[in-house]
Amino acid sequence: MLVAMSETLTTNEYTDDLRYEVFNREFMPHIDSMYNFAFRLTMDEDDANDLVQDTYLKAFRFISSFEQGTNAKAWLFRILKNSFINDYRKKSKEPSKVDYQEVETTYNSEEASDTTYTVDLRADAVQELIGDEVANALNALPVDFRTVIILCDIEGFTYEEMAKILDIPIGTVRSRLHRARNLLKEKLRSYASSMGYDS
């Protein structure tokens, strides 16, 4: 069955033993990162559990299309992101649509995002914030913006890897990241001022 899936299979022929070996050696070490990514996308523990399970089962089923020696973590993240869009985003409990609309209007051009650089936030104020506050600010972002920040700043993917995971050009990675960070600064600023950290 798998043979029919891929024309390049001759280079990736997997015996049964090798499938398990590659799965354990290349895929399992990323399970904590995958779980955290799933949780930050769905914002729901049950959905995160299902998403991680589905992703790993798909990864095993389609292991012959994984080329050994390439970046397994990026490959897995891409499957997880696609599963999230196809299977979970529709039924997501997160009311992100209203938020997203608002963001689209405010940030629908490069120029619009450029004018927001003057967010009045000091590094010292950010330094005072605890992890939960930073996480809440991140979680308050619409999912597309949240995603680029997770991939870049938490998981340490390169722009090129992010482009592959998200199926978008590198230029779009850069500009989306830039906008996401401007938005995050606004969220952090309201946290900082509500905590009385900001002067």
Binding site: S33, N36, L57, D114, V126, V134, Y159
Partner: protein
């Protein structure tokens, strides 16, 4: 970057040459982020090296961006994947 740790006389001289406004700050913000992400082109690195120690808005922006990036990376708690998920995956691929 840290002009305040230099001796007073050097600081004084440096202060006079410091820029208090940045006429291309939007562009600088993109460069600063690219530098922190280790994704800057050679031209962007050159611009950064030449300008970053004399432009106060850019120095402050660099500190802020770095602080946010570090906070995201180090302060947010990473949960371990629940054991039950691991077990389900393993039992399903073995069946």
């Amino acid at each position: 970057m840290n002009a305040s740790s230099t001796t007073p006389s050097v600081t004084e001289v440096a202060q006079k040459q410091m820029k208090h406004t940045c006429e291309h700050h939007a562009e600088c913000m993109k460069i600063i982020q690219a530098i922190l992400d280790d994704e800057a082109s050679e031209a962007e690195k050159d611009h950064f090296r030449e300008n970053m120690d004399k432009c106060i808005p850019c120095i402050e922006a660099y500190r802020l961006e770095k602080c946010i990036k570090d906070s995201l990376n180090m302060k947010i708690v990473k949960k371990p994947c629940p054991e039950s998920i691991l077990n389900t995956i393993i039992s399903k691929i073995n069946s």
